[in-house]
Symmetry: C2
Subunit: 333 residues, 2 copies
């Protein structure tokens, strides 16, 4: 668990997209985002107060989060001097970079000297159990996609936010590095050893109040041959009561796999439901979340209406329309 | 790759079952099994010449294989003195024990001093790629099970042996520790990091001659919620041309999961085929392998005939009847 609130380090981000992690924290956990720390030339702006390390600490920040991706996953000398100063100033550090903080001897020495913690959210730190399949109390919703990177995390965060706004019991359960940095905790599922994947998901979504919903962040796709095993572990370890189907309608083929066609939503519905019912026979598909960013303002609503007619399920783009219809469908179960 | 041939270390095996790994090597790679090394009280016997370390070396043995499981996966002081002597005598060591050879400082020091290699087959030593799904040349057969531990490894080894006996091109591709110790190479799939599982299977079964068959060792089951993600990676990374369904008819529930029923063979056929065809649209189910060890001599053939009638696929127990009908079905594709 990463101590909050955060000061968001944007470094010398070459463009706004490079600061995707910071943007996610800003959008979904604004109460964690006290301020931003930008270096010369930074092209990203979270519209947060610019703070020095000292100002961030004075405002109460506990952790400096590297909210920006850099070229090659390396920690540049410029960044490193900031990180060392941050440790000296009393910050923990949190990072999802490929190059681990813990593999940098200087950062390790400084963290030890100052009694601070280095969080590399790409690396599991828990000895997860083997999944036991025992039915857990509370409710779980899992986003599954026709492909990778179609908006599963966004969908889960939006549904969680909508439920919280209604005063309902809800948690977003992060399974990827961006989700973990946003929420401060979770399981970096793609880095878990194979035998323990489903057990890690069980660990992540424990027994809870009967009216509490976990929104489990999806990963990969049952139809994406590179990562389908990870998705399978989410479907079986998650024991979902509800599935939301996620889709991006303009993709020419499966991400990174030119020879593989994107499946139909109906095929995803049937396969995901069959697999999910092995672990939870009561599981239902409650709705469809479409990332329509590739469709113009004049056509996206027609597209959504067409999918809704065809499949008979509430179909929305939560970014453009909000997640309230998906939450309504969940609560109607 | 583990250097062959082997001297098989049976230790102080409390019963024959404890020496399952040694028995597998003895049964499936007799040419690797030069002799056995037994300590006082050993209750297992591979019917191989008993050899001292010196005799084994003189006979040409390259590696001392720990062919026995011990209580708790620990390396006892008695065993350790033998292992240290083996390193001094010029043996590499190979082990599938939970406690790793490489974590024992004395063994590491001795291996370094004598220029020998410690093989812990539970631990991946290759940086496997992410699966790319590109079609590979050559043919592949994957055993999939209604449950874990229903005879998938045995089935693959038996089909490989039958093809080799007919002079056909065939490889057994090990994905578990016992299979790796039997064949001397492979991928310990359940210990691979999630993102790389399917890529590890692609790596294990590379391009080959058009008439060459890889028999890929199955793991877990698509219906076993603890390990289904591993099975999924085999189905998608393996790109099988042929599936053999494996089953054990007397099991009361899924192994280790009292609340989960064993699926019907027809359900396994349909699900495995649907998933396999994502990676290889030409995939076919060619036969059924049943572990009938729980059925008496008077009933097992009736059971097999009933399954064969119901599903219309060659159905055999390869241990009792041989794998020739399964190989015939494979070659008829």
């Amino acid at each position: 668990m990463i101590n909050t609130p955060y000061l968001l380090f944007l470094g010398d981000a070459p463009d706004p997209l490079a600061a995707k992690v910071a943007q996610g924290i800003r959008d979904w956990r604004p109460q964690y985002a006290l301020g931003q720390l930008r270096l010369d030339g930074c092209q990203a702006d979270m519209k947060l107060p610019d703070m020095t390390l000292t100002e961030g600490r004075a405002a109460g920040a506990q952790t400096l989060v590297i909210g920006v991706a850099n070229r090659g996953g390396r920690i540049s000398p410029l960044w490193k001097s900031v990180l060392l100063d941050a440790l000296a100033a009393g910050y923990d550090l949190a990072s999802g970079l490929h190059n681990l903080l813990r593999d940098d001897a200087d950062l390790v020495a400084a963290a030890t000297a100052h009694g601070r913690t280095l969080h590399d959210v790409r690396v599991p730190t828990v000895a997860y159990p083997i999944a036991n399949g025992v039915k857990r109390s509370g409710k779980r919703c899992l986003a599954v996609g026709t492909d990778c990177s179609v908006g599963k995390m966004y969908t889960g965060l939006a549904m969680d936010a909508e439920m919280k706004a209604r005063g309902l019991k809800s948690s977003f359960r992060a399974t990827g590095q961006t989700g973990i940095l946003i929420t401060g905790e979770g399981v970096p599922l793609d880095a878990v050893v194979a035998d323990f994947m489903a057990g890690a998901v069980e660990w992540l979504t424990p027994d809870n109040d009967p009216d509490h919903w976990d929104h489990i962040e999806g990963q990969g796709s049952l139809f994406h041959i590179s990562y389908s095993g990870v998705t399978m572990a989410l479907v079986h370890g998650g024991q979902p009561d509800a599935l939301v189907l996620c889709h991006e309608p303009t993709r020419p083929h499966m991400r990174g796999l030119p020879d593989y066609a994107v499946p139909k939503l109906a095929d995803l519905r049937d396969l995901a439901l069959q697999l999910a019912r092995m672990a939870n026979p009561a599981c239902q598909v409650v709705g469809i979340s479409v990332n329509t960013s590739g469709l113009g303002d004049d056509v996206f609503e027609d597209y959504l209406a067409g999918v809704e007619r065809e499949l008979g399920l509430p179909t929305v783009d939560p970014f453009r329309q909000g997640a309230d219809r998906l939450v309504d469908a969940l609560l109607a179960l």
